[in-house]
Symmetry: C2
Subunit: 178 residues, 2 copies
């Protein structure tokens, strides 16, 4: 597995079920959403600007994409939410199994972020991101091309305590494939 294969497998529309475990008070949150992942042109102005904001040569970007989501949580009395972010992988020139991932809106905090990723020998994509007040650890893997799983942890910024552990099961929406 490498980032090109991984992004290509991820493209499309996904129906997601996510459970968040808020550990301090043993709360379960259930989230249902639709996620759209579409490829971006590496020369797209947003991609180029995001690279430049991190002093990264935009020609190092590989398979940039946009991820958008819309859904509802049982936490907020079924209020709906939606969002979108650009993600730009920057593979390590010396190791095709690792690199950096730029986002214009982070997972733990809604500010630009840069994380470190690698693929383990089980083809899991593992992403570590340090924010101001938290660190996030995400693991994403494909059970088959139409079904993927994602485990996300939010830790305190020292990386010690885990605050929230989330699990998403994502089924490809084949009806969107036309």
């Amino acid at each position: 597995m490498d980032i090109t294969k991984f992004v290509n497998l991820s493209l499309g529309r996904w129906r997601s079920q996510r459970s968040a475990h808020h550990l301090a008070f043993s709360h379960f949150e259930a989230v249902t959403s639709t996620i759209d992942i579409v490829p971006l042109n590496p020369e797209d102005a947003d991609v180029v600007n995001l690279c430049k904001s991190y002093d990264i040569d935009p020609t190092m970007a590989c398979n940039p994409f946009r991820m958008s989501w819309a859904g509802e949580s049982d936490w907020d009395d079924d209020e709906t939410f939606e969002g979108t972010t650009i993600l730009v992988p920057i593979p390590d020139p010396e190791n095709p199994k690792a690199g950096r991932l730029l986002r214009d809106r982070g997972y733990a905090e809604t500010i630009p972020s840069v994380g470190q990723y690698y693929f383990n020998d089980d083809d899991n994509f593992v992403l570590l991101t340090a924010y101001d007040r938290a660190t996030a650890e995400e693991k994403i893997w494909f059970v088959n091309p139409n079904f993927r799983l994602r485990v996300s942890l939010i830790k305190t910024s020292e990386g010690t305590g885990v605050v929230t552990a989330s699990f998403s099961s994502e089924i490809r929406d084949l009806s969107a494939k036309d």
Copy 2:
């Protein structure tokens, strides 16, 4: 990581939050339970008998243990449940990172089972078990010595469709440590 370290890390009492995603109808199930993992003597009659039932030399057993659980699910109108099973690792003599795991009561079906396990390079314990009517795939890893995660998949027996995807976050109950 090897099976001895993994079992030793697992011993104790755990407070578990489990979310099951029943995929066919996008149902969320929330389960709260207490899990106790206690070591067994390799010469324990139940351990020896379980080995013999699979024609395995009982002296190959390594770190056998008993796992018991009690809890409640929001699926069955908060009815409580409980259970117990003996687990007997049989490491592969040629590969300390892999082996078989015998149970006297399986995860997908409540009958004896034998699964194949291995540790990946992220120290995840991965267990694959084939039952009569289903296959189960479990992945367990420690975020720190007092916090572990478990992802379990139940697939159809052909191993194609995923029926249920579950996620457990397990916090060690330090108050039980005396």
